[in-house]
């Protein structure tokens, strides 16, 4: 035991002068950190159980609680940091692969923060979005290669490929029911409907109560095929084939049996309590031409009425892979960068595999244009979008739209404790425990998601107006509107932008 001991990274600090022994913290903590000692009539806290989710802090009525970084420390060492040492200790004790959640927390470069946005001065006018039209409507899907006319010479659009219409170029990315709670899904579905955009089921199927939001739903088909059947495919506005995700490229998924309760079981169409394992690859796709087969089997199953999205993780060869996808019959490519979140991923994979989405979107957009096939496919990017400026930069680099998930979860109460894999989320997000799930009110969740995306939309419109652009399509791939700051020539070349001052 003593050899395995790890001093907690964070310590619960209680101000005894402020604490009234109300025990709200006891009720709020699903991990049992807080206890009341009736003998001494005082509160206790066990920091070893604390995951620093901030639930007790947020609900303490007297501001008596805070969680601070522990100051217990090993001898300082820039090479053998305390986390490097702790990992070895934990693995030596357990023999297990480290399992983490949410996105890569390490200090890799964040290119969003090294890109600056332009504004108009004199040579053309900026536009005030509060008083003049400012358009963010976005279409996703293949553009028809031929223009059709009827006998009278009027343009005909009946044969145009199916597409998605978004009021704002932001969609909610796939998070499976099972990994997140029902109330998260309901909030996302209702917010997507109100915002005129889409949410994505993730790979855990679609709960029967949520079929009514189908026209704002993207249904996902992953290697485990959970909950995939004809009615599910018909329910969504688009179908996403999930090849990979940014947090764990090349790795399958594993929802432990204890998270598969009766509702998750019904939705995934697997028995209660059984593990839901997603194989690493789709076992009908071992080569790019096999992807075409899965794309078309879904198109055939839905009579060519829905766009097909193929989601991949941003990996080293992402541009060539995207080119292959663009030629597979898919209508939309979703690319997930290496900072994307997850309910659970092997720590080494999360922290070491994949590339930043900023570089991936630039490389993919370039490649598709070089091959003259950018019009065959739309590009949705995700994995590391934190605010509206990131969205705008992604679109100016060449994306049609972005998927967000981590910001959506934060809007729903997530405080980024990165402990989803425990299944005891105190905010009712990544848990299936009914008492915890009930903490997330879907009415409130919907309201907060709508607020977040609406606020971002207004910020995007302000920035567009500043550039003199009044429609989002004129921003797409408009890299002249961007400049790099503190980037080397290679990075600028990949991003296809000039340095500030040039």
């Amino acid at each position: 035991m003593s050899m395995d001991f790890l001093y907690p990274d964070y310590t619960v600090v209680r101000n005894k002068d402020l604490c009234t022994n109300c025990q709200i913290c006891v009720k709020q903590c699903g991990l049992g950190v807080h206890t009341y000692d009736a003998k001494t009539k005082s509160m206790r806290a066990d920091s070893t159980k604390c995951i620093n989710c901030q639930r007790c802090v947020a609900f303490c009525p007297t501001l008596a609680l805070k969680i601070v970084k522990s100051d217990n420390t090993y001898k300082l060492n820039d090479n053998w940091t305390s986390s490097a040492i702790n990992e070895v200790i934990q693995q030596a004790g357990s023999g297990g692969m480290l399992l983490s959640s949410m996105g890569n927390p390490r200090s890799y470069p964040i290119y969003w923060d090294k890109i600056l946005i332009n504004a108009s001065q004199v040579t053309n006018p900026s536009i005030d979005p509060l008083r003049e039209p400012m358009e963010t409507r976005t279409f996703l899907g293949k553009k028809p290669s031929k223009i059709e006319r009827d006998e009278q010479g009027r343009l005909q659009f009946d044969k145009a490929p199916p597409h998605l219409t978004l009021k704002v170029p932001i969609l909610f990315a796939g998070m499976s029911y099972g990994a997140v709670s029902y109330n998260v899904h309901e909030s996302l579905a209702r917010a997507a409907e109100q915002l005129g955009t889409y949410y994505n089921t993730g790979e855990g199927g679609l709960h029967e109560n949520l079929y009514k939001y189908g026209k704002n739903t993207i249904v996902q088909v992953a290697s485990g095929r959970f909950g995939v059947h004809k009615a599910y495919l018909d329910a969504g506005a688009a179908i996403e084939i999930k090849i990979g995700q940014g947090a764990k490229p090349g790795i399958g998924g594993h929802l432990p049996g204890y998270k598969v309760g009766s509702e998750v079981s019904k939705t995934r169409m697997i028995p209660e309590g059984s593990d839901a394992i997603s194989p690493a690859p789709h076992h009908d796709i071992y080569s790019i031409e096999d992807l075409r087969q899965l794309v078309y089997s879904l198109k055939e199953a839905t009579a060519y009425t829905k766009p097909i999205i193929v989601k991949i993780a941003a990996v080293h060869n992402v541009a060539a892979i995207a080119s292959g996808i663009a030629r597979s019959g898919a209508d939309i490519i979703a690319i997930d960068g290496f900072r994307a979140g997850t309910g659970a991923a092997p720590t080494r994979i999360r922290d070491n595999v994949g590339i930043p989405i900023e570089l991936a979107v630039a490389a993919v957009d370039d490649r598709l244009r070089e091959e003259h096939i950018r019009n065959n496919i739309s590009l949705v990017v995700s994995g590391g979008i934190r605010n509206s400026a990131d969205v705008l930069k992604a679109i100016a680099l060449g994306a049609d739209a972005v998927y967000i998930a981590t910001p959506a979860l934060i809007a729903l109460g997530c405080h980024m404790c990165r402990s989803c894999q425990t299944g005891k989320c105190n905010w009712g997000i990544t848990t299936q425990r009914p008492d915890l799930v009930a903490r997330l009110d879907p009415d409130e969740g919907t309201r907060r998601l709508v607020n977040l995306v609406s606020a971002w939309q207004h910020e995007i419109m302000e920035m567009m107006g500043g550039m003199g652009i009044n429609s989002i399509e004129a921003l797409k791939g408009n890299r002249l509107m961007l400049r790099g700051i503190g980037l080397n020539q290679k990075e600028l070349d990949i991003l296809g932008i000039k340095h500030a001052g040039e």
Partner: protein, 243 residues
């Protein structure tokens, strides 16, 4: 309705014809590689003469498909209900992720047949293979029943390597005198009891009916049953790391 698929009739044209007809019985002649036939199809009877292409009966939802010939890869992918009867051999990843319905193959099946097959409530998929199966049979199997008869097979066990690797539900019946030696640790095997055979009797009956085989001939050899010994095969390999 009868469709002549000769001269490489385009799969999209062919499937559109099938989708758009009111006829409950559709016969396709001279089929040669057209993919996605019967994709997502409900109550129908499709008879295919020739060699249908990949992903035959993907997401099948109640239709009955009979193939007079061999079928290719990914037959019955994510099939939900209905039946597929192949009077010949069938390719790789047959019955991938199937959740319900029945697949009968007179001859052999390729690699990774029944991969990630799963059962749910009243749905329990069945795949019966008359000949032998390739490697990775029932990989990740989470439910349903796979039966491999090995009729006219010389090999001791009618399956390739790595049978039922990652299996965590359902069962596999192998008709043979002895089991393969490389079965994974999380799988237990036993000789089929009368109770076990009762469970598959109806499927064997159907197989015999489809392909005019005598059931007595099938029962001449013993069956083994393979099942997972835990629902959580990978549970112990991870340790939660809060970083």
């Amino acid at each position: 309705m009868r469709i002549n698929a000769t001269n490489n009739l385009n799969f999209r044209v062919l499937n559109e014809q099938i989708r758009n007809t009111e006829d409950k019985n559709v016969i396709i002649d001279n089929c040669l590689g057209q993919r996605f036939i019967g994709s997502g199809m409900g109550q129908r009877k499709l008879t295919i003469n020739g060699t249908p292409g990949n992903a035959l009966g993907a997401y099948l939802n109640g239709a009955d498909i009979e193939v007079n010939g061999n079928a290719q890869d990914a037959t019955g992918d994510t099939m939900n209900n209905g039946s597929i009867v192949i009077h010949g051999n069938c390719g790789d990843a047959t019955g991938y992720g199937m959740r319900g319905g029945e697949i009968y193959i007179k001859g052999n099946v390729g690699f990774r047949a029944g991969i990630h097959m799963k059962a749910y409530q009243e749905n329990s998929p069945v795949m019966v293979v008359g000949g032998s199966a390739g490697s990775f049979l029932g990989e990740y199997q989470a439910g349903g029943t796979i039966i491999v008869l090995g009729l006219n097979e010389e090999a001791e066990a009618p399956v390739g390597a790595q049978c039922c690797t990652g299996m965590h539900g359902g069962c596999i019946f192998l008709r043979c005198d002895s089991l393969p030696e490389d079965l994974p640790a999380q799988v237990v095997s036993r000789k089929a009891t009368k109770y076990d055979l009762d469970h598959i009797d109806g499927y064997l009956e159907s197989f015999c009916e489809h392909f005019s085989v005598e059931k007595e001939q099938i029962l001449e050899k013993p069956f083994y049953v393979l099942e997972p010994n835990t629902n959580n095969p990978y549970h112990s390999i991870y340790t939660t790391y809060l970083s």
